[in-house]
Amino acid sequence: MVDTEFALSARGVRMEYRDRSSDVSLVAIERMDLDVADGEFVSLLGPSGCGKSTFLKIVNGLLLSTAGDIRVRSLGKAREDAMVFQDAALFPWFSVLDNVAYGLVCAGVSRAEARSRAMPFIDLVGLSGFEGKYPYQLSGGMQQRANLARALTVDAAILLMDEPFASLDAQTREAMQAELLRIWSAAKKTVIFVTHQIDEAVYLSDRVIVMSARPGRVLADIRVELPRPRSLDVKRTPLFATYEEQISKLIASQHQHLGLGSQRDEA
């Protein structure tokens, strides 16, 4: 592959855990190959335990893969990647401003400068006026905005988003999806977005990578050709429904393959 503008390129990434109590080794990711172009929005979609979050942590450097090779290009940005964590990922003892500035402080920027550089991103995610509040004073959706702002502030080439809206109620979740697209087009980032919700993946992404149940591997790589900018109304178009159906069939075939189809439905 001679793609000159890839942001991330993963080859043969494999992850095994050794279970300490039984000494059995568990394969979380069998094999992951993935290329993400600069500026692309890619979702990793799959059931819990398929290793999609694990893959993000490997890219981020929080975990070391058992085998494989990942190359990430910083493309002139200050950092290669930054993580947007799942729920409750703010420090409760810091104000919103200090939470958002935290990534810069980690990079050695002085606190005062980090704070002033964080402010535009607090505005961008729509938290102006809340910078002095503590996380417990914010709603779940607002906490995730701060979480996103922290990752944006460090000026990374790739945003790694680990089911960031999983704990939000359905309405807030939809609003946040639309917000994310607005911010994404304003900030011009490459995004790798982990989710287990089909409609979320289709609505947000340029490409949806469907993963198998554990041990995780790529089942399909689907390009979503819905026009941008996308409003939430796009979810009610026939084309959107076609994508949803295609993906849910893929996932259902997985269940049948594993003999889980009917049992899942009853449970």
Binding site: N60, G61, L62, A82, M83, F85, A88, A89, F91, P92, W93, F94, Y102, G103, V105, C106, A107, G126, L127, S128, G129, F130, Y134, P135, Y136, G141, M142, R145, R150, V154, T172, A175, M176, E179
Partner: protein, 275 residues
């Protein structure tokens, strides 16, 4: 941006919350005072009615007279200052050594393994049991009491600080790691703030114990201090002065407890009200 509510100013919901809490505090004080007045009133009336011997349980008015006499003559001051000094020195030294040590032990797994059995063993042992030994070694002066206060405070502060470090949430250290925080920054921004509530709990427990330590040691063997004062007048059956000593200790305990509570509040502005 349709979902975010308008930013509230300084007089938003928090302002009204503060007013409500102030009202609650006043109410607490009022009922507390009524309770106190009722208690002393019943005690005084019962003593005057001859329901028990005043020479044994004294009465509020007798205690008040003793207080006026000993405070105006200045006879009680040396005892107060000795006890307070013993407490303060032992306590402050214990915090100054105990908190950093607890942090270090908590941070380094091998140091933890090395000392924790010993530490928890000593922590669990009632230190009053070794008071006679300490007095034998350090004498009947202030030193033995300072040592006892130190021991009582030190171990509970070390143990609770360690527990605090161990309780640091994995998801918080993961954030620090993800953004590449140095060890020192991780310590300052994650470990320390998560540990503070535990340290304060340790301090709160320690104040009560240390106060008991001072009194027990002074009653065992001393030449000054409130414990000595109580013990001394006890042998003369001067129960009013014995009670005066007890009341002073109680007052000190209340003041100290309130102080710790204020510090806790100060450190925990980021905590949601869980009442």
């Amino acid at each position: 941006m349709a979902t975010a509510p308008a930013p509230s100013g300084r007089t938003g919901p928090l302002g009204s919350l503060r007013v409500a809490r102030l009202g609650g505090a006043n109410e607490r004080l009022l009922y507390g005072l009524i309770g106190f007045v009722l208690f002393t009133g019943i005690w005084e009336t019962a003593a005057n009615a001859g329901l028990f011997r005043r020479s044994l349980l004294s009465s509020p008015s007798l205690i008040w007279n003793a207080a006026v006499a000993d405070f105006s003559s200045g006879a009680i001051w040396p005892h107060l200052s000795v006890s307070l000094s013993e407490f303060a020195i032992g306590f402050v030294v214990a915090l100054a050594i105990g908190i950093p040590l607890g942090l270090v032990i908590g941070m380094f797994r091998r140091v933890d393994y090395f000392v924790s059995v010993l530490l928890f063993g000593i922590y669990a042992t009632p230190k009053a049991a070794v008071a006679p030994l300490i007095i034998l070694v350090a004498g009947i002066g202030m030193e033995s009491k300072v040592i006892l206060v130190f021991l009582l405070t030190f171990f509970s502060v070390v143990v609770s600080t360690m527990a605090g470090v161990h309780a640091v949430a994995e998801r918080h250290t993961e954030i620090a790691r993800s953004f590449g925080a140095s060890r020192w920054l991780t310590f300052r921004s994650v470990v320390l703030p998560s540990t503070v509530p535990f340290v304060l709990t340790g301090i709160r427990i320690a104040t009560g114990r240390a106060l008991v330590g001072v009194v027990v040691a002074e009653e065992l063997a001393a030449s000054a201090g409130i414990g000595f004062y109580i013990e001394f007048f006890g042998t003369f059956l001067d129960t009013a002065r014995v009670m005066l000593g007890v009341v002073l200790l109680g007052t000190f305990g209340i003041v100290l407890g309130e102080l710790v509570r204020r510090i806790e509040k100060r450190f925990e502005v980021w905590r949601p009200e869980n009442r």
